[in-house]
């Protein structure tokens, strides 16, 4: 089966901005996304997810390289200065190119 190279953009951040972040990804060309509830810690302290205000999410977007670049730049410029944000990019291969 034919395989197509794509990027997996992973954004780990505060649950409070989930809705805005998903809307931004959509507006910038992402066709789909996956959100996981996660826990962790970093420079901005530990986030244990003990209650509503302390929840964290991992947003995964499989998309074309240019979309990943646009979203990453936007997230780093807009959200990273004030929110807990971890962001990384990895290479993935998909089977159905049209979907991503």
């Amino acid at each position: 089966m034919e395989r197509h190279p794509r990027k997996l953009l992973t954004i780990i951040t505060e649950a409070a901005i989930e809705r805005a972040l998903v809307a931004d990804c959509r507006a910038m060309g992402a066709q789909g996304y996956t959100v996981l509830d996660v826990r962790g810690g970093g420079a901005m302290g530990d986030r244990e997810g003990a209650w509503e205000g302390d929840r964290s999410i991992e947003l995964q977007v499989v998309c074309a390289d240019d979309v990943a670049q646009r979203v990453a730049e936007h997230v780093l410029g807009t959200y990273a200065p004030h929110y807990a944000v971890a962001l990384y990019l990895s290479d993935v291969q998909v089977f159905r190119a049209r979907k991503y």
Partner: protein, 261 residues
């Protein structure tokens, strides 16, 4: 509603000059105190019921009415003070600011707590007391037990925030202890002025004294990203919430009785 909108206007100057906080932090904490804590309300209801003076069920409307105005005023204070952007410093080119505001308005007006409270009241009003009978054991009988478990859980969460209060400093902790009785007295006096019953005055005082730690943190995190959430959540959940449950509520019930003569 007006009362809850006034609270941030009263607390903001105190937080700025008394506690010496930066404008975004002061506005965020002011919004937390302007909004209300549903759990504190539930404890006050329980205390009143145990004292043989059950509060009127429709007082839950007050919670729904008083949740949002304080948050809105807090956001406006942050905007006026520092020109804080609606969401972040660099909005996406694809998304206009109006959509950010619309999203925020939706968050505040249709937050889980408000929808559940107003929805519950509407369901109760439409179905009437007869419909309540079959489900009463779950919602009335088990309520105290569930509340006890919930308070235990909240105690653990609140306790976990205590180390963070070191960052907040003595002045903010003092604010967390002094603001509730002062705001509670304000609520009690207004309630008395409006000719409310003793349980209603006690509930209004409790709501004024309480600080939100569920709705307000989410809303303020979106609206005022510059504010440090550790400070606002630390003081509202780590100081004011336990203070109200242990000392405040009996005090507000006492105020209500004393005012009503």
């Amino acid at each position: 509603m007006l009362l809850s909108a006034c609270i941030p206007l009263l607390t903001y100057p105190v937080l700025r000059s008394g506690v010496r906080l930066a404008a975004p932090d002061a506005a965020s904490i002011a919004a937390h105190y302007g909004s209300v804590s549903v759990v504190t309300f539930a404890v006050a209801q329980g205390v009143l019921a145990r004292a043989g003076q059950p509060s009127e069920p429709h007082l839950a409307v007050l919670v729904a009415l008083m949740e949002a105005p304080g948050i809105v005023v807090g956001i406006l204070l942050a905007r006026l003070a520092g020109g804080a952007p609606a969401v972040a410093s660099n909005p996406a080119p694809a998304i206009g600011p109006w959509r950010r505001w619309a999203g925020l308005a939706h968050e505040v007006a249709f937050g889980k707590a408000v929808v559940l409270l107003v929805g519950g009241l509407l369901i109760g009003w439409i179905s009437g007391p007869e419909a309540l009978a079959p489900i009463e054991p779950l919602f009335s009988g088990l309520f105290k037990g569930v509340l006890a478990l919930f308070l235990l859980e909240m105690g653990l969460v609140a306790g976990a925030r205590l180390p963070e209060l070191k960052q907040a400093g003595v002045r903010l902790v003092a604010f967390g202890l002094l603001a509730p009785p002062v705001l509670g007295l304000l609520g009690a006096v207004v309630g008395h002025g409006l000719g409310m019953s003793v349980p209603a005055i006690a509930i209004l005082a409790t709501l004024c004294a309480s600080a939100s730690y569920i709705a307000a943190p989410s809303a303020m995190r979106i609206a005022v990203p510059q504010a440090n959430p550790t400070l606002s959540i630390g003081v509202s959940l780590g100081v004011t919430f336990p203070f109200n449950v242990l000392v405040g509520i009996p005090l507000y019930v006492g105020m209500a009785r004393w005012l009503a003569g």
